[in-house]
Symmetry: C2
Subunit: 153 residues, 2 copies
DNA sequence: CAGTTGTTTTGACAGACTCAAAACAACTGC
DNA sequence: GCAGTTGTTTTGAGTCTGTCAAAACAACTG
């Protein structure tokens, strides 16, 4: 199927997302955003490795800089699970949370614990003005549970 | 006041806490526990600096090792706020949470968001068995709010 | 198409933490 | 009390993740 004059490629969408955030559009930025959309919860290192597959000249520092710029612009969200480098994802602005498997490191999204605007309202805010809440549930995923269960017998 | 035969010094309490966790009692361990009780939410580096005041021979690696041992034994809790080294505290087992000031780095305790056992029950656990939840509220403390307010005028 | 501004590369470097081996100290039981 | 066993600490090197600054470079502006 040929694309008509008014149609937009996927790359075009990425470009306007970046431009819409007030950032200049560059090849490494398009690549980073693309990687992040296909592989959420990626570390800088993982993004870097993936980006290099299509843009081999890209430096690690560029990736760090791009991730910081995107995070600052609200295009991506960064979070810091324990015992892991920072992870990045495009799902932003919905205050969702994460399940982290202690066994294998798997990360899964979880919707906001209480419905509504919640999770941004602690029982006593001590005068703080709260902008965001980071909730990480640490546990064992289904796979790691079955891998350990036999050993208990 | 002289201490009778049955009385316990503060150091004695620390010692039996450590022994009760199944760990050998050593001077650096007693010192670390003492520091942590007086200064919760301390980094390894801060604990190290404080310990050296009374036990100047102690190495940084010892402090890292002790903190890891204490954390493993359930004697202290470790948490990882964004943009900060890991912090340690003695308040353990109550699943409490933290307010972190984006401006000055102040950390404050918050009781569990929902009362009861909560915060350990995400809306959908995807089959995970959950052991702990780490909740960090990011915002501005009262002081940082007033420091910034004038600039808005 | 040249100018301005923001971006990327390059290379050095720092912070937080880990690893391994040897020296050492705490508990065990004689 | 004292040697043995086991766990701890020191020492020293090294890793991983991320930061800084300057120069080369590319995107948007008009
Ligand atoms: Mn997510
Ligand atoms: Mn606390
Ligand atoms: Zn798992
Ligand atoms: Zn503050």
């Amino acid at each position: 199927m040929a694309l008509g004059p008014g149609s937009q490629t996927h790359a075009d969408v990425l470009r306007s997302t970046i431009r819409g955030a007030g950032l200049k559009v560059t090849a490494p930025r398009v690549a980073v955003l693309d990687v992040l959309q296909h592989a959420p919860h990626s570390s800088a290192e993982q993004v870097f490795a993936e980006v290099r597959k299509s843009l081999s000249g890209t430096s690690a520092q560029a990736v760090y800089g791009i991730l910081a710029a995107f995070t600052g612009a609200g295009l991506v969200r960064r979070f810091d699970p324990p015992d892991s480098p920072a992870l990045f994802e495009c799902r932003v602005g919905d205050n969702h949370h994460h399940l982290a498997c202690i066994g294998c490191g798997l990360i899964q999204d979880v919707d906001c614990v209480i419905r509504e605007a919640p999770c941004l309202t602690p029982s006593d805010d001590s005068g703080f003005t709260i902008f965001s809440a980071e909730v990480t549930f640490n546990g064992l995923c289904r796979t790691c549970q079955s891998n350990r269960a036999p050993q208990t017998a």
